[in-house]
Symmetry: D2
Subunit: 430 residues, 4 copies
């Protein structure tokens, strides 16, 4: 194992930096998916893409048709072949790699999320990707959550399976999932049935907490349930000087909604979150704004808190804010993730499996997640049918928090993650 | 005159519809300016463009360099010749046409504004430009204030001067002004000295009030003084689930500013206006927004009310809203127009000059404007140096208010406007 | 006349200072009414009080039964006799004095409002009533609008009629109206029919504008129509630490309503006003507030603007603010005044009538009121039945604006007002 | 023990109902304190009151002098003797009862809080105190948190010590604390040194969670640290119709502060709370409000979260809200409680001590408090000097949540609480 990992490391770093330069937001991961596909094609996997892996109607939070078309043009311009483009046409991004050993054994599903964020990456000196010349080539988009690393780790795990295939039993499914941000990609994969026969599920994230490289958490806890909501307000434009009273002001309705949403009362039963992350309203300064669009998310320590408290509160406030300014509100649910718990058995399993590692020197049994992850949909499905699921955290110092323009991590975490998953897989063969 | 106007009318309609299809917002009127230039070239005018007519540093509310470059590319793609592009390079749009009769007489300046608005035109049946096939070809932009008509009227007035030149004395300056919306284009023309020797100033607007075709106002009153303000808020992004408290929320600061600006107390001394017409904030739903941008305008019945009450109130509220959410505010003044009054003598002058018209059947001495117009800068300059200024309103029914996606007017107002100005010019020769 | 006025002046000042010391808010003017009654008893008037002069069900904005009871106790403690108390029992304050000359002639109604405000008077040096020792004896209440002077002027006019009765014809009705503040007292007097046979109506106010003593306005214009609204919010209390989510927060609903009401868009057709003047919410800091009460007023340059724009906007905003916080709103209309115009004939009448005065040296034909006055109900009624009405302004410098804790005026305005009304009455005899 | 408790029960109920009828808010517990004093006088305790038990300058959140005077008058009217009134004069309420067995042993301090809340009690049928005729006799005040029970339990514990004195060693201090609501009374008792020699501290609360009678928690956890803040805004009054722009609106500043305070971002490190529980602003509807007063509290799961996050956020928001409306803010800290933890040893101690009880059938080791309690000041002091502290919860079903107008509990909890404390005391003798 050590030898394999050592040889693999430059590849992981190369791929991570490649992905980092081509960040693509949810449902537009054309270049990313194609790069992964090209890599996987060289190994012994059956590849599945498009509608085979995503239930079309379960996809949420889709870009506009215009955005999809623009991104497809961009992907072609950036060199994605017609073969791959055809499979992904219409925002069916992501890829699934399956390998059947032919020997009886369990079915292990492992998930890697691959999307980036609409954040403008820092170009300042001292920001590692800037200094090293692999900063984002797409202004306004950035791998600010480490999914570039996740994609690279996935390719590493694929190589591990390929390399160790003689020692393995049963079946393997590697899910390179689009649209984790916004809770959009896991559900359509689950609903397509990809996890239906899985006995074990492994997911994970690099960073999150300020752990050191070599420290990992066997399980994560406190996944916040989350719902992603788009709200639009439609009013009536008017000349702001001549006839302001003839307008119905959608911008003010959205501003009011932002403040009042932000004031949803804290709940005694557990942590909740509310964020209006994006707001666009109005077309010009001397026109009463006739539209506004907001991107909102709610979270709760439990699915109950999120879905039965935060979401109804948000709905009521959006409607009432529209009424305040006599405009019309439209509410669309565009993403969601439940809360879920890891199966307890993984604590001992991971501790034992990495026992002989020289790189992994500390296994924390359970670490608070404190964020949302739609991997919970996959965990839920696997557990529902009697399987067992975990979600690990792979420690690395961070130069700035997740979703920050200067977010970065120590690439030494990449081989650690591949090794941890590899050793867990081997352990499951026993 | 009647014969001339009759012959001119199809040309006015043709040009108006042409301009309507190529709406261009302030400082990007490349196609519009070039079309005007092409028309004027055929007549006996000296043409002036670029830095000859606009004091560079007096221009306000400029688009970004990117937007300027994009629009220049667009203009070239739409067929504007290199000759014109060179003169306008860097957002120096607009054109001035001068004619000197060679005979002693007064200097008459006449102004036509030519910019459009960032409004998406209605494509519904019943909207005349849609029905007649001359709807905007630039999605998201529209001549929703009638400046397409103003440009056509300007060309009509140029033809009038050309046609009647034997009967005219003194000098004529026709100013095709960019950037009236936002109060951006008049000041740099005035500061370039274009009005410095003018004895008379004529400006005007079609529509405004629900007059009938054939009804005009000899003078307009109650121009609201106005200031255009851009406010930006800079906070700190953070993961909205993991560490919301580490963010500093620029979106909420802007939302608060919007509501509190809107609540600036009414003033006992006269009418005031406040509008936050555009707001953009944040990059994604799960990120605490680290920036927000707002486009604001204040107005006052007097320059005093606007500049000494509304603007300082707005400044204080923007700063305090930033303090509420611990973010940084930047305030930029991007446009302005004073209040001004027409010279009283024009009431009688216009009444007498149209006395023999068969088309103009009613002259209202004075009509309330109720909006802002940076023509007031030109009026101010001409009056300051002892000249006399008016701003007329040319009646036409409107299908929807100014700045509305279904704004339209009766094209019969176009020849009426040319005739009114023509007759006023003739009257001034006596 | 000059002799009469000269002799009257010390009496006017004495009475004004007396009223100033016993300020009583709307519907609690027991001491004030009784003092007026005592004075009038000495003259040749028939006095009317209680339900004779106020239609019970037309009274609006009543104090609570507890407040009425407390004030009646107070009035008795301050020496009001049982005779007067009986007539006023249940908040039927105010008094009407009628005099019939027995000679044919017109019926002239003259109105004086007598109520004070819930404002704490300044006790600082330099505040004239404090310096002169006639500051309010009721903490929290103050004659901050000059109605102490109006009551004194009314007594002066009564003495004038008494003194000049041999020269007078027709009938006179002096209305000492309760509850002008809040637009509460005029309507029940009008609906009781007191103005039904009046040919002329005279009302007026001291101060308002910064005129000098000796300057008066023959008519006032731009009475703002006004509506007085009470809004209550009912939520649910909860322990703010243990179970904040179980509460429904009426305080926040009221706070939201305050801000959003304040943001009602300005109207192109004329001036409007909105004020939330009083807000009380919640019972303790660690309890989610389960109630809130607000006192609101709207105004409009026209009755149309007030009643068809401001009031419906206010209603919608109050309801939507309740919805924002899931509480219940109750809206109560507690006062109202229409806009009205003075009859034009008074300009010449007043100018001629004061022609020989040595004290009144300037008559302004028309002065903008800019405030609301329920005298407009009386003006409306008199004009409706063919009569003629005016509302004059009696100039005096003010030490601070109306409704300010340091409000005061020059008492020299008191004889001026009596003289003006007296001369107008004499003029009407001709 | 069983016999003693059985005999004691009617007394507990009688006393609880007595206290319930005379609810008194913080620093005005004159009648309550006197009633306790009268009861204790009959037993073998030394009683301490006034400045002996409260460090004057450590008292926070005092009523106004007027309120203190009014309450002292009321207490005298309700029959409190001059002897007691003298000791309590100036809001020095509360009483401490000390008993020294004369035998060597530890010093046990037990605390009972006795204040009520400014809540209007429900008089509806079905509300037990209403049905049974012991509803509050002071409108607007109510024992809505169970401190009437705590006072009765304290008297029961006093009787227990009196009864069992032959079996006891060491010293006992019973603290009947005023002003727990608002975190006002514990600190001045602690700073007066009353806990300085205590080896053990016992506090507790009835209700809180929906436990059954007979269920108790040996320790409580998650006391929220809390700070109580008064904010005042001072603006400038003006006539809302005539000159609204001359006012500076304190009501709107307070409304803005309420909303923006309510929106203080949730913190990733733990639970926080914010409540604006009371707001009073303005004097009348047609006057721009020149003052506003707010009662606020912040809480945090840790003292750190409260004092270093919530309080500075609240300060900034209050100041910025004042700046929004150009008014002046004054901030006063009027109460505070740290977070604290119970000593772990009490879990086993309580479990063993009630082992033989027939009434107490379940001991929960640790229960989340979720609220604030200034008993934490006493716990902190005792632990700092090497002692050991607990805070127990005595289960009872509640008819409505704490601080609700229909709050009530099963009186069967009263003997349970006395028995629990009694058995713990006996256990400490071993």
């Amino acid at each position: 194992m050590n030898e394999f990992i050592k040889k693999l490391t430059p590849y992981l770093i190369k791929m991570r930096r490649h992905f980092h330069q081509y960040p693509e937001a949810a449902w537009t991961e054309y270049v990313t998916t194609a790069s992964i596909a090209e890599e996987l094609k060289q190994l012994d996997f059956n590849l599945y893409m498009g509608k085979e892996i995503l239930k079309a109607e379960a996809r949420m939070g889709m870009p506009s048709n215009q955005e999809i078309a623009d991104n497809e043009k961009r992907a072609i311009a950036e060199g994605v072949s017609a073969e791959w483009m055809e499979k992904m046409a219409g925002a069916f991004t992501g890829i699934v790699a399956a390998y059947d050993t032919g020997r009886p054994g369990s079915h292990i599903a492992i998930r890697f999320d691959i999307d980036a964020l609409p954040i403008k990456e820092s170009a300042e000196a001292g920001h590692f990707p800037a200094d090293e010349g692999f900063i984002s080539k797409r202004e306004g988009f950035m791998h600010a959550c480490g999914h570039d690393g996740h994609a690279a780790i996935g390719l590493g795990v694929a190589r591990f399976i390929h390399e160790f295939k003689q020692r393995l039993y049963g079946r393997f499914t590697l899910l390179f999932q689009p649209g984790e941000e916004g809770g959009r990609g896991a559900k359509p994969m689950v609903e397509q049935g990809l996890l239906d026969s899985a006995d074990y599920f492994i997911g994970g994230h690099i960073g999150i907490h300020s752990l050191k490289v070599g420290e990992i958490a066997a399980t994560a806890t406190k996944f916040l349930a989350s719902t992603k909501i788009n709200a639009s307000f439609y009013g009536k434009s008017a000349h702001a000087g001549l006839s302001p009273n003839e307008g119905r002001n959608a911008l003010l309705a959205a501003a009011a909604a932002s403040l009042h949403l932000n004031g949803i009362t804290r709940h005694a039963d557990g942590h909740t979150r509310i964020n209006v992350g994006k707001l666009e309203a109005g077309s010009g300064r001397n026109i009463v704004a006739d539209f506004a669009r907001m991107e909102i998310e709610t979270r709760g320590e439990s699915t109950e808190l999120n879905e039965n408290y935060m979401v109804p509160e948000a709905r009521r406030i959006i409607e009432a804010s529209a009424a305040l300014y006599d405009v019309k509100a439209e509410i669309e649910m565009v993403g969601t993730a439940p809360s879920e718990e890891c199966s307890k058995e993984w604590v001992e399993r991971i501790q034992e499996s990495v026992d002989e590692s020289t790189a992994i020197h500390r296994v924390i049994p359970e670490l608070t997640m404190g964020a949302s992850e739609d991997a919970t949909y996959m965990m839920q499905r696997v557990k529902q049918q009697g399987g067992s699921a975990t979600y690990m955290i792979f420690g690395t110092p961070l130069s700035a928090g997740h979703h920050h323009p200067r977010f970065d991590y120590d690439e030494a975490v990449l081989p650690i993650a591949v090794e941890t998953i590899g050793r867990a897989v081997l352990k499951l063969q026993q």
